[in-house]
Symmetry: C2
Subunit: 247 residues, 2 copies
């Protein structure tokens, strides 16, 4: 049940502390305190904090350790838009290079499984977890289809940010009213993206990828208005390293 190394365990634990809101944005993360809480030495904690700082969940202070990173609502919107940009680029490159048949088949198979979940509007919410997995699998295959390791690496770094990954947004959104319509619309776009890739229509594939992010942005806006994210993220979101323009 435990991870192989203490460092991995520390990373997961600290990430959970941040995501769950136990520690608030801006709050200092003292090594000894974390090591004590996690029953391990400072060494793996330090290593995990170093990793998390590169992933963007914590920020490294010059000479005095680390603090939980603050995210403004605009940051979340920007992250979603950039994810659409990268996914659109992946779709375009897959179309331009001529994706192999088995790759398109893989994508189609995932979409068929999602369609099956959506057939019954009254019971689909019992299968949200399956949808999360399938949706994540689709986006993973989409990035892979570009066969571009640099893009894949950039994508991985982007979706490490909270609520930038496909799964995070689905988990936070599915229970809101009207979510079924958004999900079915998104699924329609999924089909169109794969169709574009299979047909070699790179430009259409790219812009569908971007448009797909627009739905996500709308959903994110509803989540923010509904207050689902406000407590954790908006509390200290006003402060960020940006220029002090309007002192």
């Amino acid at each position: 049940m435990s991870d192989a190394t203490q460092t991995a365990r520390a990373g997961k634990a600290i990430r959970d502390l941040i995501i769950s809101g136990v520690v608030l944005p801006g709050e200092r993360l003292a090594e000894v305190q974390l090591a004590d809480r996690l029953n391990m030495s400072r060494t793996p904690v330090r290593s995990a904090l170093n990793t998390l700082s590169h992933e963007g969940l914590v920020e490294s202070l010059p000479g005095r350790g680390y603090a939980v990173a603050s995210f403004a609502a605009d940051d979340l919107r920007h992250a979603v838009e950039l994810r659409g940009l990268l996914e659109g680029t992946a779709a375009r490159q897959a179309a331009e290079r001529g994706a192999a048949i088995f790759e398109v088949d893989q994508l189609n198979r995932v979409l068929q499984d999602i369609d099956a979940l959506f057939q019954d509007q009254t019971t689909w919410k019992d299968h949200v977890h399956e949808y999360v997995d399938l949706n994540e699998e689709f986006h993973r295959l989409l990035i892979e289809s570009a066969q571009n390791p640099v893009l894949a690496r950039l994508y991985e770094q982007l979706i490490k940010l909270p609520f930038a990954s496909p799964s995070d947004l689905v988990v936070g959104y599915w229970h809101l009213p009207g979510s079924f319509g958004k999900f079915t619309a998104a699924q329609h776009q999924h089909w169109a993206i794969v169709e574009s890739i299979a047909a070699g229509r790179g430009t259409r594939a790219e812009f569908l990828g971007r448009e797909h992010a627009e739905i996500t942005t709308k959903a994110l806006g509803e989540m923010l208005r509904s207050g689902a994210l406000s407590r954790d993220l908006m509390a200290t979101a006003t402060r960020r390293s940006g220029p002090a323009a309007r002192g």
Copy 2:
């Protein structure tokens, strides 16, 4: 003359070892060996290796340390293309939000300084170093003009890859025949990008940013054919973690 911390010193030293080709792609990086060579303990070396693995210069092996990352020619091309994508996006967002006058002025001022360097085709090579600085400053201002911290972060992570940053490519290319024409063409695009931002023409700004990367890709191709990069990068470039598609 030395950095503040041993960790920073270790990071710089190991990066230099990789860039200068003292250690070859694929080669293992043993902590004790590095600590011995740099006259420090394993702790800061380990921390630096962790950082470098997130930057992409070294790859972390499951349970046995680190190795120098391998870059294929395609990886370099992909990195340049993605840089164009991000710079184009930054330009579009700057145009769409309506960049402030002083920001456009800053960009124009840098371009005027570059123009001054290019006035005399016979002596411009004496000022390559100044051009490198100004070019880097322009691209930095361009990214800043989007006022998008997430995009800026992604860009920073991308240009940490070898030969993905504007400066790296200029330094490797300026001495090749015909470089003057490429640089003046690139400068023409710089002016057009700023003009588009000032005029609020987001679409034109974005595609100019992408097209700007095409010149860079061409220059990269010439560098690869000229053998300037072959020794360091191409030697072990064939091997990469990708799928074993063509046995």
